[in-house]
Chain length 244, copies 2
Amino acid sequence: MPAVLKTLGAKAAADLDKDLMSDEGGYSIDQLMELAGLSVSQAIYKAHPPNSGKRILLACGPGNNGGDGLVAARHLYHLGYEPIVYYPRPVHKPIYDGLVKQLHGLHIKFDDRENFKAIAQDSDLIVDALFGFSFQPPVREPFDKAIEVMQSGVKPVLAVDTPSSWHVDDGPQDEGLGSKYQPDYLISLTAAKPNVKHYKGKRHFIGGRFLGKDVADKYGLSIPDYQGLDQIAEVPVDIKVEKL
Amino acid sequence: MPAVLKTLGAKAAADLDKDLMSDEGGYSIDQLMELAGLSVSQAIYKAHPPNSGKRILLACGPGNNGGDGLVAARHLYHLGYEPIVYYPRPVHKPIYDGLVKQLHGLHIKFDDRENFKAIAQDSDLIVDALFGFSFQPPVREPFDKAIEVMQSGVKPVLAVDTPSSWHVDDGPQDEGLGSKYQPDYLISLTAAKPNVKHYKGKRHFIGGRFLGKDVADKYGLSIPDYQGLDQIAEVPVDIKVEKL
C-alpha cells in the first residue's frame, strides 16, 4: 500500500461504475454487487469475528449501498453469523427482489420496526448500508432515526463505502443529523472517497478485487495490496489522503 | 464433513439449479456463476499456489462449465496468476460476452490454436472447464484433442465439477476418448456428482457456499464444513460415496 491514499469523488466514482458496466467493461450489476457484498462480509469477519457476537444488524437503504448490505447478509449467514436485516424501503427491481428472496430462503430475520434503537440493542454490530457516495441530503425518515442511533454509539458500527449522511467530499454535516456520526469501522468499495479524511474509526478496509490496471490508471488509483485469497485489504487509518 | 459423501445425479443437479434460479429462489445466473468461478479460483490457489507456477490454462467449453472457467480466469489474475484462456467456441449470450470483455479489459491472453498440446506445454496447470454434469457424448472437435492432451498427463489438471467426457453417473467411458482420463484435482460445484467414485486424483474440493439448509435437505445433501472465509471445503479423496 503506498503512503498516500488516493480517493474518488462522487462524479469519478459514478463514472468508474459506468465504465465497468459499459458495453466495453462487460460487468453486470449482479456481478459487481455480489463481489461488493462479499467484501463487506469479509471486512465484518476481520473487524468483528463471529466470537465477538454473531448478531449483525444490516441497515439497508433503497439503493446500491443497501443492495451491498443484502448480499453481505447472505454471506454472513454462511460464515456462521445471525444476520438481522433492516430494510424498510424495499425497491422492487429484479436484483433487489432476488436478493430478498435469497435471504427469505435462508430464514434470515427481517426487522423493520419503527424503533430502530430497539432493533440495534438486540444486535452486536450494526452495518451502515443506508447510503453510498451518491447520497444527497436530506435524510428522509425512517433513516434519520437509524443514523441517530448509529451516532449514539449504542453498538459498534461498520459503514459501507461512506458513513451515511456524510457528504462524499466534505464528510459529516456541520450541524444537525449525523454531524457527530463516526463509525468504528469502514469499508471503502473500489476506492476510498474523499470524506475518509474525516473518518476517525479503528480500522479501514478497501474492497473491490476486480479493478484492473487500465481502469485504475484511468482514475489515478492504486490497486491495494490484497493478501492471499482476501477480497479486502486493510489501509492504515492514519494514511495521508489525496483527492484525485 | 460426514463420513459419507452424498452426490447428485444429472437430473437432481439440474433441478437444484432451477430451484435456485426460480422466482422463489431469487438467484441470477450471474450471481451463481460468479460464486462458482470464485470457488474454482480458490481450489486452484490451494491445490496449486502461485509459487507452483503461475501460468494457468483454462480450457473453457461452450456452456456453464466454460463460464465458470471464464470467471475463474479473472479471479486468478487478481490472485497473481497469469491465466491463459482456451475458448474456441464462444457462445454469444450476454453473460459469456460480458465475461470475455472483462478478461480483455485485463489483457488476459486467449489462445485458441488448434494445437492444444502446444498451448498446454506453455502452462503450469490446466483447468478442465469444458463440460459439466449435463454433458452428453460425443465430444465434438476441437474439444476431443484437449481431452486427449489432458489425459496424456503432460501437465497437471484440475477438473471443474466433473472430468470432461465422463458420464455424470458412470465415470470414464469404457473405451475410446477419455477412457483413461484422470485429473489430478477436482472441484465439485454445489455437490459432488456420482462419478466422483471413479476419481483417483490427489485432492477434492467442494464449492458453493450459498447452499441453504432447506435446499440441502430437499436434495438430501450435507453442507460441507467450510472454514473461515473459504468458499471451498476439502473432502477426503477416500470418502465413501453415496448416490442420492
